[in-house]
């Protein structure tokens, strides 16, 4: 959706979290739930465009992992995947909107050059 501003958000977030060391970051791992509407290829294009203006990130690579939607069924006490946006338990078919994975938009890992 807003890839350029998300990339800028990534940089702002990392600069706030690692004020002394962010310039050594070489790999950024982004975890995006399927419901976050983030498309990996568009994120990477936006990243490449933004680092043209941010040379301090020129050696940094963005990795994007998309996580499928998973719901939790209270009756079965089971996690089950959501297929084709049907939010029903795959075991008992009971509807559940208890989404435990799929809405996140997180920086899950960063790697620094030593």
């Amino acid at each position: 959706m807003h890839e350029i501003s998300l990339v800028r958000n990534i940089f702002k977030t990392l600069e706030a979290e690692f004020p002394d060391t962010y310039q050594n970051i070489r790999n950024i791992y982004l975890t995006a739930g399927e419901l976050s509407n983030v498309q990996p290829i568009l994120m990477k294009n936006a990243f490449d465009a933004v680092i043209l203006d941010e040379p301090k990130y020129a050696k940094t690579i963005l990795h994007v992992e998309v996580l499928p939607v998973i719901i939790y069924c209270d009756d079965c006490n089971q996690k089950t995947p959501v297929i084709q946006y049907k939010f029903i338990c795959s075991i008992c078919n009971k509807p559940s909107k208890n989404v435990i994975q799929g809405e996140e938009l997180l920086i899950s890992k960063v790697e620094f050059e030593k």
């Binding site: 959706m1 998300l6 997180l106 920086i107």
Partner: protein
Amino acid sequence: MSQPKSNKASVGSVQCENTTLNLLKANDFVAKAIKDKLLPHNILVLNVCSSPGSGKTTLMQETGKRLKNKLKLGVLVGDPETERDAIRIREAGIDCLQIVTGGMCHIEAQMILQALDHFDYKDLDILFIENVGNLVCPAAFDLGEDYRITLIATTEGDDKPKKYPRMFLTSELMVVSKSDLLPHVPFSIDAVTKDAREINPDLDVISISSLNGEGLDQWCNWLQEKVKQKKSQ
């Protein structure tokens, strides 16, 4: 930074940090500030979303006509440009402030927080936030609302919920608008309800026509019931 998010571990020649840094944290933080600001006043906050042209503003006008003597209503209306919607809503006798997003496709919490500085909200029963017409991006931005309401017009096609699942997943109520056109368009309320409830089984559904008034009593009852619940919290 408040939460412990770092879990230092060395991997090969690189230093590795596992984190849970949330990219929408800034918005969620401001959304919480909005909730805190409104909490002492017991205001029901409703985030009204839909595609462009599905009748959000017209529904605001009709709601004003029917409820303005029973409830104190206010509207913050977002559009990429112009004050046109705010003018229409004020004509119906409701306090309204236009949020011009400057081309942006959704309202962010910061815009609401700033708007509240210029809007007399303290005595309101309901604060409507009429979001920018868009079923994708607004779904990701919490505005501190109690409930999200999604309108879908009968002219849009009944296959919308599965195309825009996050919006319907996070809504409390789906309002099917322009029901006066049902005889003329290939739209099934049963089909759209079935699709939407496969995503969100708890979704309420009300079908309305702002033109002929059908369903508006049910809509107003829904609002009054939610106001009552809010006041008794």
